[in-house]
């Protein structure tokens, strides 16, 4: 016989303001199977939970419904409380009367009526719940880190230092990411490479880290604790094990005209190249599109010069499978390539800024390379068009950020700070130059950040104009920047030698495809979704997959590093146990009823259903049937919907439960 407790939460005033909680309790007390019905100010608080536990004990409850917030918020909390009192946690259901009711309906009568319906549905369901116990699966204590920028490096080192093996996959020929290309960093103006390259070397030499550069994640199979990852090692045409990184090959290469990716097109590189001198691994790759040996079969100078015989023009992509238990995604960001990248550049872009048309309109990462000591100009600031030292430079913030009309609605967060940094670096290099910044607001929240911006303005004389730029045109070798200073209340026209656009920060290319391989959610801009914006910032909805750095949202170096350590910490927590317990709300097949059509086998996205045979003791085949592998099933329930004989069932969402919920509305 059902002995169900209903616990209605006030959530302070969050629920009680629009739902008549006491009246609701009176109504619910009479629902079939309900033994007791109570309300409390904060059901999730300790006294609230104690109240629940007391009632479970007193009334010997065999089922309960908590009517409060979203189950995504507190279902676990209440299931734990029930378990502590000996009630199987899967006999607990929630009715979401906050997010789905009191917060969105402000008519007390209607909201109360809806809340009553929601509770009635939950009670109808819980009466048909089964006691379940968690599934235990083994765990591979190795981690995969995707992306070798500063976040990936930090995460890999943390996990490796804790004694676990790490597989680090980087798409580019070297690790280091965007940070390796930065000149100096805010708010301390310390040299980016000086602080990053020692960490890169550490990764390269760490006994627990297996590094795959120039490689992509091809496929991910399996599930938390037991992933099987296929990595495509792209043909490098250089045998890393033989190569000593001496540099004879790239010095010999006659084709030095390819725009350097690492310099964002501001400099050139050879066809066989290391992206930058401190690369890890310090081994070159051959760009198959630029190398004349690979495109036309002529040249081969590098191979002749290579004393180690490391050049292999017949190199092929290689597929490698690695078994890991956890995955950290740290794929980082790129700057929005305005005017070139979006599908309908005419309507959605910033054509009026002339990026891509005027050579001296560049983006902020390109500027970083122009002022970097390791950059194409050796740290001397010279503009791309004619190599002249620019005497007036205009920096424009929010190009595509915070722009609902033709960009992204979000704030890219780091541009205010690096714009201030750029004006300082510029002033330190060109003493008689004048920097101008057009901005919407200055967002300098962070330790020593605002002080830094003030220094740019007060000590280094950057002129800040609060307003946007309407148009950039070119006349007689000058860039005419027309904008407005809304504080002064007047239009501003500046004749500039160089214009730097702080374009919006966007997730790196291909992140959506990767997210789909990993079953991780992402937002409309492609930033990966964390499990909870506050309380689970590095977890994702895919168990065993964690995120850190700018792939999750715009952030600066300290934040990326902090988040990377957090993700590494989560991986270590996972690896501190010998096995993983998984939710038991998974599918099963009634083998007596199964007609062995195997429609479910074809529909299952996880290949979790096998074709099995039932034999008698003499080994004679009795029947064939489908069978669920509980280690693989993720509990989506697709098999239930496709099964023609209705022999598939999903615990937690059984046919009985779902139909009972609908019927309770009648």
């Amino acid at each position: 016989m059902a002995r169900i407790g209903v616990f209605i939460c006030w959530c302070g005033e969050n629920i009680s303001r629009h739902v008549d909680v006491e009246k609701l309790a009176e109504q619910c007390a009479h629902l079939p199977g309900v033994r007791c019905c109570l309300t409390y100010k904060y059901m999730c608080s300790e006294p609230g939970q104690n109240l629940i536990r007391e009632k479970i004990r007193e009334e010997r409850l065999n089922g309960m419904v908590v009517a409060s917030c979203s189950p995504h918020m507190h279902l676990k909390t209440f299931r734990k409380a029930a378990e502590a009192e000996g009630l199987n946690p899967y006999l607990v259901e929630m009715a979401n009367i906050r997010e789905h009711c009191s917060w969105v309906h402000h008519d007390v009568k209607a909201a109360t009526a809806k809340a009553a319906d929601l509770i009635r549905m939950a009670v109808a369901k819980v009466r048909r719940n089964h006691a379940l116990s968690p599934i235990r699966v083994p765990l591979t204590k190795r981690a995969l880190v995707i992306g070798g920028g500063v976040a990936g490096i930090q995460a890999a080192l943390d996990i490796a230092d804790a004694g676990h093996e790490v597989v680090l996959v980087e798409r580019e020929p070297s690790i280091g990411g965007k940070m390796a290309g930065l000149s100096e960093t805010f708010p301390t103006l310390d040299c980016s490479q000086c602080i990053l390259t020692p960490r890169m070397v550490e990764v390269g030499q760490h006994p627990n880290i297996r590094l795959y550069t120039y490689s992509d994640v091809e496929a991910v199979e399996g599930y938390v604790g037991n992933f099987s990852v296929t990595i495509r090692k792209r043909a490098r045409y250089v045998d890393i094990s033989k190569c000593t990184g001496c540099g004879a090959c790239w010095n010999a290469c006659p084709n030095k005209k390819t725009p350097s990716e690492f310099d964002f097109g501001m400099g050139k590189r050879s066809a066989i190249y290391v992206p930058f001198p401190q690369a890890v691994p310090a081994r070159p790759v051959i760009d198959a599109n630029a190398c004349t040996m690979l495109t036309k079969g002529k040249c081969g100078l590098c191979a002749k010069k290579c004393a180690a015989g490391a050049i292999n023009f017949k190199d092929q992509d290689e597929l490698i499978t690695e078994k890991v238990g956890a995955i950290v995604v740290a794929t980082g960001y790129k700057l929005w390539d305005i005017g070139k990248e979006q599908e309908n550049a005419k309507l959605a872009g910033y054509g009026e800024y002339g990026y891509g048309t005027y050579k001296d309109v560049i983006n902020s990462l390109q500027f970083e390379r122009l002022v970097s000591a390791s950059g194409p100009t050796g740290g001397e600031l010279r503009r791309p068009s004619d190599g002249a030292v620019p005497k007036t430079v205009v920096f424009i913030s929010c190009v595509g950020s915070r722009d609902n009309a033709k960009g992204m609605s979000y704030c890219s967060k780091i541009c205010c700070m690096y714009n201030a940094k750029h004006t300082m670096l510029y002033k330190h290099k060109v003493h008689d130059g004048q920097a101008h910044v057009f901005y919407m607001d200055i967002r300098a929240g962070g330790k020593n950040y605002d002080e830094f911006v003030r220094r740019a303005i007060e000590q280094d004389g950057a002129q800040y104009h609060r307003g946007r730029v309407s148009k950039i045109t070119e006349e007689n070798g000058k860039l005419i920047v027309r904008g407005v200073d809304t504080l002064a209340g007047e239009p501003v026209t500046i004749e500039a030698d160089l214009v730097v656009l702080a374009t919006a920060m966007r997730p790196a290319d291909g992140v959506e495809t990767l997210a789909q391989k990993l079953n991780v959610g992402y937002d409309e801009y492609g930033f990966l979704s964390e499990s909870h914006p506050k309380l689970r910032p590095v977890e994702t909805n895919a168990a065993g997959v964690f995120v850190c750095g700018a792939c999750q949202g715009p952030k600066d170096i300290p934040e990326s590093v902090a988040q990377a350590s957090a993700a590494a910490g989560k991986v270590q927590v996972m690896f501190s146990r010998e096995e993983i317990t998984r939710e038991p709300e998974i599918a099963s097949i009634d083998e007596r009823m199964c007609a062995a059509c195997f429609t479910c086998v074809r529909a299952c996205p996880y290949n979790a259903i096998e074709r099995a045979e039932i034999r008698d003791r003499a080994g004679r085949l009795i029947k064939r049937t489908a069978r669920v592998n509980p280690g693989l099933c993720m509990g989506c329930g697709t098999c239930v919907a496709v099964c023609p004989s209705k022999s598939a069932e999903l615990e937690g969402f059984t046919e009985q439960q779902v139909y009972a919920m609908v019927e309770s509305l009648g």
Binding site: S70, H105, A641, E655
Partner: protein, 153 residues
């Protein structure tokens, strides 16, 4: 055989449509949660039934909902490509294409069945969809015809 005439009931103002929504746990349910977190008000006529995935939705549930007196049904899950379980929403869409033919043949008013994708980030879309469906259903009037269909079959 959908009939699009406004319902003749002169007392339309008192009619409150009953809408059953079958939603997936990871996208639309969270989208509705987000609507709540952002306090986006919408009509209180919808009753959500949470399922792990649209792939789990047996479309007999739609018929069941009408049988228990629903005036409209909404099925909503993750956008194509975004399914938490990789492909459940594709399965749902594929089966729905077939099933809707069947329902249409049976004489179910297809205007009362809504199929949409709402992501966890689209609280505002949830608000809009529910508001629109409620409004549309209100104009169509209660689904009395369903009971007649039941009697014939």
């Amino acid at each position: 055989m959908t009939h699009k005439q406004p319902h003749p009931d002169p007392d339309m103002t008192t009619f409150e449509p009953k809408i059953v929504a079958y939603v997936c746990n990871w996208c639309t349910y969270l989208g509705a949660d987000l609507a709540g977190t952002n306090r986006l008000e919408y009509p209180p006529n919808v009753r959500i039934i949470r399922l792990p995935c649209t792939g789990r939705i047996d479309f007999n549930l739609i018929v069941k909902a009408f049988e228990t007196g629903a005036d409209a049904v909404l099925v909503s899950g993750c956008h194509p490509g975004d399914c938490h379980y990789t492909s459940g929403n594709y399965h749902a869409r594929r089966r729905w294409t077939l099933f809707r033919e069947l329902l249409d043949t049976l004489g179910i008013e297809m205007d009362r069945i809504h199929f949409t994708w709402i992501s966890a980030a689209e609280g505002r879309k949830w608000q809009q969809v529910i508001t629109e469906i409620t409004e549309k259903t209100r104009q169509m009037g209660p689904y009395l015809a369903y009971k007649r269909i039941c009697r014939v079959s």
